[in-house]
Amino acid sequence: MHIPDGYLSPQTYVPLYGVSLIFWSVALRKMKKEFSARHIPYLAMAAAFSFLIMMFNVPIPGGTTGHAVGAGIIAILLGPWTAVIAVSVTLIIQAIVFGDGGITAIGANCFNMAVVMPFVSYGVFKLLRGNATGGARLYIAAFLSGYVGLSVASTVTGIEFGIQPLIASGPDGRPLYAPYPLSVAVPAMALEHMLLFSVVEGIITVLLLRYFLKHEPESVYALSIKEGPK
Protein backbone atom coordinates (compact mmCIF):
# COMPACT_ATOMS: atom_id res chain seq x y z
CA MET A 1 0.00 0.00 0.00
CA HIS A 2 3.04 2.28 0.00
CA ILE A 3 2.69 4.34 -3.17
CA PRO A 4 6.17 4.85 -4.68
CA ASP A 5 7.46 8.04 -6.33
CA GLY A 6 6.18 8.46 -9.87
CA TYR A 7 2.83 6.74 -9.52
CA LEU A 8 0.97 9.90 -8.50
CA SER A 9 0.80 13.13 -10.48
CA PRO A 10 1.66 16.43 -8.73
CA GLN A 11 -2.06 17.29 -9.04
CA THR A 12 -2.66 14.40 -6.65
CA TYR A 13 0.31 14.33 -4.31
CA VAL A 14 0.45 18.06 -3.59
CA PRO A 15 -3.16 18.33 -2.34
CA LEU A 16 -2.74 15.13 -0.33
CA TYR A 17 0.33 16.64 1.34
CA GLY A 18 -1.92 19.56 2.23
CA VAL A 19 -4.61 17.34 3.71
CA SER A 20 -2.10 15.35 5.75
CA LEU A 21 -0.49 18.58 6.99
CA ILE A 22 -3.85 19.73 8.31
CA PHE A 23 -4.38 16.44 10.13
CA TRP A 24 -0.84 16.53 11.56
CA SER A 25 -1.26 20.04 12.94
CA VAL A 26 -4.69 19.30 14.45
CA ALA A 27 -3.36 16.03 15.92
CA LEU A 28 -0.38 17.79 17.52
CA ARG A 29 -2.63 20.50 18.91
CA LYS A 30 -4.99 17.92 20.41
CA MET A 31 -2.10 15.94 21.85
CA LYS A 32 -0.62 19.08 23.38
CA LYS A 33 -3.75 19.30 25.54
CA GLU A 34 -3.87 15.68 26.69
CA PHE A 35 -0.35 14.33 26.27
CA SER A 36 2.02 13.98 29.19
CA ALA A 37 5.48 12.45 29.63
CA ARG A 38 4.12 9.06 30.66
CA HIS A 39 2.48 8.71 27.22
CA ILE A 40 5.78 9.03 25.31
CA PRO A 41 6.85 5.34 25.59
CA TYR A 42 3.43 4.19 24.37
CA LEU A 43 3.56 6.52 21.38
CA ALA A 44 7.06 5.25 20.54
CA MET A 45 5.97 1.62 20.94
CA ALA A 46 2.93 2.21 18.74
CA ALA A 47 5.09 3.65 15.95
CA ALA A 48 7.64 0.83 16.33
CA PHE A 49 4.84 -1.75 16.21
CA SER A 50 3.37 -0.25 13.06
CA PHE A 51 6.84 -0.14 11.48
CA LEU A 52 7.51 -3.81 12.22
CA ILE A 53 4.08 -5.19 11.36
CA MET A 54 4.32 -3.61 7.90
CA MET A 55 7.52 -5.61 7.30
CA PHE A 56 5.55 -8.86 7.54
CA ASN A 57 4.58 -9.23 3.90
CA VAL A 58 1.73 -11.70 3.66
CA PRO A 59 1.68 -13.64 0.39
CA ILE A 60 -1.31 -14.47 -1.75
CA PRO A 61 0.14 -17.70 -3.22
CA GLY A 62 1.19 -17.21 -6.82
CA GLY A 63 0.00 -13.62 -6.69
CA THR A 64 0.91 -10.51 -4.79
CA THR A 65 1.83 -9.51 -1.24
CA GLY A 66 0.42 -7.08 1.28
CA HIS A 67 0.61 -6.39 4.98
CA ALA A 68 -1.26 -5.19 8.03
CA VAL A 69 -0.71 -1.60 9.22
CA GLY A 70 -1.71 -1.66 12.88
CA ALA A 71 -3.47 1.71 12.67
CA GLY A 72 -6.79 0.27 13.90
CA ILE A 73 -5.51 -1.16 17.17
CA ILE A 74 -3.37 1.94 17.75
CA ALA A 75 -6.48 4.11 17.36
CA ILE A 76 -8.38 1.92 19.83
CA LEU A 77 -5.53 1.93 22.36
CA LEU A 78 -4.28 5.52 22.07
CA GLY A 79 -7.06 7.37 20.26
CA PRO A 80 -7.34 8.19 16.54
CA TRP A 81 -5.45 11.50 16.69
CA THR A 82 -2.48 9.92 18.43
CA ALA A 83 -2.59 7.13 15.84
CA VAL A 84 -2.30 9.78 13.09
CA ILE A 85 1.08 10.83 14.51
CA ALA A 86 2.35 7.32 15.37
CA VAL A 87 1.66 5.85 11.92
CA SER A 88 2.78 9.02 10.08
CA VAL A 89 6.16 8.92 11.84
CA THR A 90 6.53 5.30 10.73
CA LEU A 91 5.62 6.08 7.12
CA ILE A 92 8.00 9.05 6.98
CA ILE A 93 10.94 6.94 8.21
CA GLN A 94 10.01 4.12 5.81
CA ALA A 95 10.01 6.54 2.86
CA ILE A 96 13.18 8.45 3.70
CA VAL A 97 15.42 5.68 5.04
CA PHE A 98 14.10 2.56 3.30
CA GLY A 99 12.53 3.86 0.10
CA ASP A 100 9.26 2.13 1.04
CA GLY A 101 6.73 4.61 -0.32
CA GLY A 102 7.85 7.66 -2.29
CA ILE A 103 9.06 11.00 -0.96
CA THR A 104 6.50 12.80 -3.11
CA ALA A 105 3.84 10.31 -1.90
CA ILE A 106 4.41 10.79 1.86
CA GLY A 107 1.30 12.98 2.05
CA ALA A 108 -0.78 10.42 0.16
CA ASN A 109 0.50 7.41 2.07
CA CYS A 110 -0.04 9.18 5.39
CA PHE A 111 -3.54 10.18 4.31
CA ASN A 112 -4.40 6.56 3.41
CA MET A 113 -2.78 4.66 6.27
CA ALA A 114 -2.40 7.26 9.03
CA VAL A 115 -5.59 9.34 8.58
CA VAL A 116 -8.30 7.35 6.76
CA MET A 117 -7.46 4.07 8.43
CA PRO A 118 -7.32 5.06 12.12
CA PHE A 119 -10.49 7.17 11.90
CA VAL A 120 -12.47 4.53 10.02
CA SER A 121 -11.24 1.81 12.39
CA TYR A 122 -12.04 3.89 15.44
CA GLY A 123 -15.48 4.80 14.13
CA VAL A 124 -16.33 1.18 13.34
CA PHE A 125 -15.16 0.07 16.79
CA LYS A 126 -17.17 2.74 18.62
CA LEU A 127 -20.26 2.06 16.52
CA LEU A 128 -20.26 -1.73 16.84
CA ARG A 129 -19.17 -2.20 20.42
CA GLY A 130 -22.07 -0.25 21.88
CA ASN A 131 -21.55 -0.44 25.63
CA ALA A 132 -19.78 -3.78 25.63
CA THR A 133 -16.61 -3.90 27.71
CA GLY A 134 -15.89 -7.57 27.06
CA GLY A 135 -17.30 -10.66 25.42
CA ALA A 136 -18.01 -11.58 21.83
CA ARG A 137 -19.47 -8.22 20.85
CA LEU A 138 -16.34 -6.32 21.85
CA TYR A 139 -14.06 -8.64 19.93
CA ILE A 140 -16.26 -8.72 16.84
CA ALA A 141 -16.16 -4.92 16.93
CA ALA A 142 -12.36 -5.07 17.22
CA PHE A 143 -11.99 -7.51 14.32
CA LEU A 144 -14.22 -5.46 12.04
CA SER A 145 -12.49 -2.27 13.10
CA GLY A 146 -9.18 -3.57 11.72
CA TYR A 147 -10.84 -5.31 8.78
CA VAL A 148 -12.92 -2.37 7.58
CA GLY A 149 -10.21 0.20 8.35
CA LEU A 150 -7.60 -1.45 6.14
CA SER A 151 -10.14 -2.30 3.43
CA VAL A 152 -11.30 1.32 3.17
CA ALA A 153 -7.71 2.59 3.22
CA SER A 154 -6.76 0.23 0.39
CA THR A 155 -9.82 1.27 -1.61
CA VAL A 156 -8.83 4.93 -1.24
CA THR A 157 -5.31 4.01 -2.39
CA GLY A 158 -6.84 2.22 -5.40
CA ILE A 159 -8.82 5.37 -6.25
CA GLU A 160 -5.65 7.48 -6.09
CA PHE A 161 -3.92 5.06 -8.47
CA GLY A 162 -6.97 4.79 -10.71
CA ILE A 163 -7.59 8.50 -11.29
CA GLN A 164 -4.05 9.05 -12.63
CA PRO A 165 -4.82 8.12 -16.26
CA LEU A 166 -7.76 10.58 -16.12
CA ILE A 167 -5.54 13.39 -14.82
CA ALA A 168 -2.41 13.17 -16.90
CA SER A 169 -1.62 11.65 -20.29
CA GLY A 170 1.10 12.44 -22.77
CA PRO A 171 0.50 13.71 -26.33
CA ASP A 172 0.41 10.05 -27.46
CA GLY A 173 -2.47 9.37 -25.06
CA ARG A 174 -0.36 7.22 -22.78
CA PRO A 175 -0.72 7.80 -19.03
CA LEU A 176 2.14 9.81 -17.50
CA TYR A 177 1.91 8.26 -14.04
CA ALA A 178 0.14 5.18 -12.59
CA PRO A 179 -1.16 3.56 -15.79
CA TYR A 180 -4.14 1.48 -14.68
CA PRO A 181 -7.69 2.90 -14.76
CA LEU A 182 -10.12 2.95 -11.83
CA SER A 183 -11.81 -0.23 -13.13
CA VAL A 184 -8.54 -2.12 -12.60
CA ALA A 185 -6.85 -0.32 -9.70
CA VAL A 186 -9.79 -0.16 -7.26
CA PRO A 187 -10.81 -3.84 -7.47
CA ALA A 188 -7.15 -4.94 -7.37
CA MET A 189 -6.38 -2.96 -4.23
CA ALA A 190 -9.71 -3.51 -2.46
CA LEU A 191 -10.21 -7.21 -3.20
CA GLU A 192 -6.74 -8.41 -2.25
CA HIS A 193 -7.10 -6.65 1.06
CA MET A 194 -10.65 -7.84 1.73
CA LEU A 195 -9.60 -11.38 0.86
CA LEU A 196 -6.54 -11.66 3.07
CA PHE A 197 -4.62 -8.66 4.41
CA SER A 198 -7.59 -7.07 6.19
CA VAL A 199 -8.33 -10.44 7.83
CA VAL A 200 -4.79 -10.41 9.21
CA GLU A 201 -5.32 -6.83 10.39
CA GLY A 202 -8.56 -7.84 12.12
CA ILE A 203 -6.93 -10.77 13.92
CA ILE A 204 -4.03 -8.60 15.10
CA THR A 205 -6.50 -6.00 16.38
CA VAL A 206 -8.38 -8.65 18.39
CA LEU A 207 -5.25 -10.26 19.85
CA LEU A 208 -3.71 -6.99 20.97
CA LEU A 209 -6.95 -5.67 22.42
CA ARG A 210 -7.25 -8.90 24.42
CA TYR A 211 -3.70 -8.51 25.67
CA PHE A 212 -4.23 -4.93 26.81
CA LEU A 213 -7.61 -5.62 28.42
CA LYS A 214 -5.98 -8.38 30.41
CA HIS A 215 -2.83 -6.53 31.43
CA GLU A 216 -3.51 -2.80 31.28
CA PRO A 217 -7.28 -2.34 30.91
CA GLU A 218 -7.10 1.26 32.16
CA SER A 219 -4.84 2.18 29.23
CA VAL A 220 -7.36 1.42 26.47
CA TYR A 221 -8.40 4.83 25.13
CA ALA A 222 -11.55 3.72 23.32
CA LEU A 223 -12.96 2.15 26.50
CA SER A 224 -11.93 4.94 28.87
CA ILE A 225 -13.60 7.79 27.02
CA LYS A 226 -17.13 8.19 28.32
CA GLU A 227 -19.59 9.86 26.04
CA GLY A 228 -22.69 11.73 26.96
CA PRO A 229 -23.82 12.66 30.50
CA LYS A 230 -22.38 10.51 33.25
Binding site: G6, P61, T64, T65, V89, G99
Partner: protein, 111 residues
Protein backbone atom coordinates in the same frame (compact mmCIF):
# COMPACT_ATOMS: atom_id res chain seq x y z
CA UNK B 1 10.30 1.81 32.78
CA UNK B 2 7.37 -0.15 34.21
CA UNK B 3 7.35 -3.94 34.17
CA UNK B 4 4.52 -3.99 31.68
CA UNK B 5 6.38 -1.63 29.34
CA UNK B 6 9.45 -3.85 29.55
CA UNK B 7 7.29 -6.77 28.43
CA UNK B 8 5.93 -4.78 25.50
CA UNK B 9 9.42 -3.71 24.35
CA UNK B 10 10.54 -7.33 24.58
CA UNK B 11 7.61 -8.30 22.38
CA UNK B 12 8.62 -5.66 19.83
CA UNK B 13 12.20 -6.94 19.70
CA UNK B 14 10.94 -10.49 19.18
CA UNK B 15 8.77 -9.14 16.37
CA UNK B 16 11.89 -7.51 14.84
CA UNK B 17 13.76 -10.82 14.91
CA UNK B 18 10.80 -12.53 13.21
CA UNK B 19 10.47 -9.95 10.39
CA UNK B 20 12.39 -12.10 7.85
CA UNK B 21 9.22 -14.21 7.65
CA UNK B 22 7.95 -11.23 5.65
CA UNK B 23 10.42 -12.03 2.87
CA UNK B 24 10.68 -15.82 3.27
CA UNK B 25 6.94 -16.61 3.11
CA UNK B 26 6.31 -14.62 -0.11
CA UNK B 27 9.26 -16.46 -1.67
CA UNK B 28 7.92 -19.89 -0.66
CA UNK B 29 4.45 -19.07 -1.98
CA UNK B 30 5.80 -17.43 -5.14
CA UNK B 31 4.08 -14.14 -4.46
CA UNK B 32 5.37 -11.16 -6.44
CA UNK B 33 5.52 -7.43 -5.68
CA UNK B 34 2.73 -5.62 -3.90
CA UNK B 35 0.18 -4.21 -6.36
CA UNK B 36 1.20 -0.73 -7.52
CA UNK B 37 4.69 -0.97 -6.01
CA UNK B 38 6.59 -2.31 -9.02
CA UNK B 39 10.00 -0.85 -9.71
CA UNK B 40 10.32 1.17 -12.96
CA UNK B 41 11.96 -1.73 -14.86
CA UNK B 42 9.27 -4.21 -13.82
CA UNK B 43 6.52 -1.76 -14.75
CA UNK B 44 8.05 -1.17 -18.17
CA UNK B 45 7.96 -4.93 -18.74
CA UNK B 46 4.34 -5.15 -17.61
CA UNK B 47 3.20 -2.28 -19.82
CA UNK B 48 5.54 -2.40 -22.77
CA UNK B 49 6.41 1.28 -22.29
CA UNK B 50 7.53 3.63 -19.54
CA UNK B 51 5.15 6.38 -18.41
CA UNK B 52 7.10 9.64 -18.87
CA UNK B 53 6.18 11.34 -15.59
CA UNK B 54 6.77 8.17 -13.60
CA UNK B 55 10.25 7.81 -15.07
CA UNK B 56 11.10 11.37 -14.06
CA UNK B 57 9.82 11.12 -10.47
CA UNK B 58 10.91 7.55 -9.73
CA UNK B 59 14.58 8.51 -9.59
CA UNK B 60 13.94 11.47 -7.29
CA UNK B 61 15.17 9.93 -4.05
CA UNK B 62 17.93 7.43 -3.32
CA UNK B 63 17.09 5.85 0.01
CA UNK B 64 20.09 4.83 2.14
CA UNK B 65 18.70 1.29 2.66
CA UNK B 66 16.36 0.66 -0.29
CA UNK B 67 13.86 -2.14 0.28
CA UNK B 68 15.23 -2.91 3.79
CA UNK B 69 18.18 -4.53 2.04
CA UNK B 70 21.79 -3.49 2.56
CA UNK B 71 23.32 -5.08 -0.49
CA UNK B 72 21.06 -4.58 -3.47
CA UNK B 73 18.97 -6.83 -5.69
CA UNK B 74 21.18 -9.90 -6.02
CA UNK B 75 21.83 -10.36 -2.30
CA UNK B 76 21.82 -13.90 -0.92
CA UNK B 77 18.95 -14.98 1.32
CA UNK B 78 21.21 -14.89 4.38
CA UNK B 79 22.21 -11.28 3.68
CA UNK B 80 18.57 -10.35 3.06
CA UNK B 81 17.50 -11.94 6.35
CA UNK B 82 20.21 -10.12 8.31
CA UNK B 83 19.42 -6.85 6.48
CA UNK B 84 15.76 -7.23 7.28
CA UNK B 85 16.32 -7.75 11.01
CA UNK B 86 18.83 -4.88 11.11
CA UNK B 87 16.31 -2.67 9.26
CA UNK B 88 13.65 -3.56 11.82
CA UNK B 89 15.98 -2.52 14.64
CA UNK B 90 17.03 0.67 12.82
CA UNK B 91 13.33 1.35 12.28
CA UNK B 92 12.56 1.03 16.00
CA UNK B 93 15.44 3.39 16.80
CA UNK B 94 14.54 5.92 14.09
CA UNK B 95 10.84 6.16 14.97
CA UNK B 96 11.85 6.34 18.65
CA UNK B 97 14.11 9.34 18.03
CA UNK B 98 11.51 11.10 15.90
CA UNK B 99 8.75 10.46 18.49
CA UNK B 100 11.06 11.78 21.21
CA UNK B 101 11.69 15.00 19.25
CA UNK B 102 7.97 15.47 18.54
CA UNK B 103 7.14 14.76 22.18
CA UNK B 104 9.48 17.52 23.32
CA UNK B 105 7.39 19.93 21.29
CA UNK B 106 4.05 18.85 22.68
CA UNK B 107 4.63 17.74 26.26
CA UNK B 108 3.60 20.38 28.69
CA UNK B 109 6.08 20.17 31.56
CA UNK B 110 3.81 21.93 34.02
CA UNK B 111 1.37 19.01 33.99
Amino acid sequence: MTKSQKKLWTGLFILAVLTPLGIILPEIFKAGDAWGEWGPDKLEKLLGYMPEGLKRLAALWKAPVPGYNFSGEGASTAVQVISYIASGLIGILAVGVLIYLISRLIVNNEK
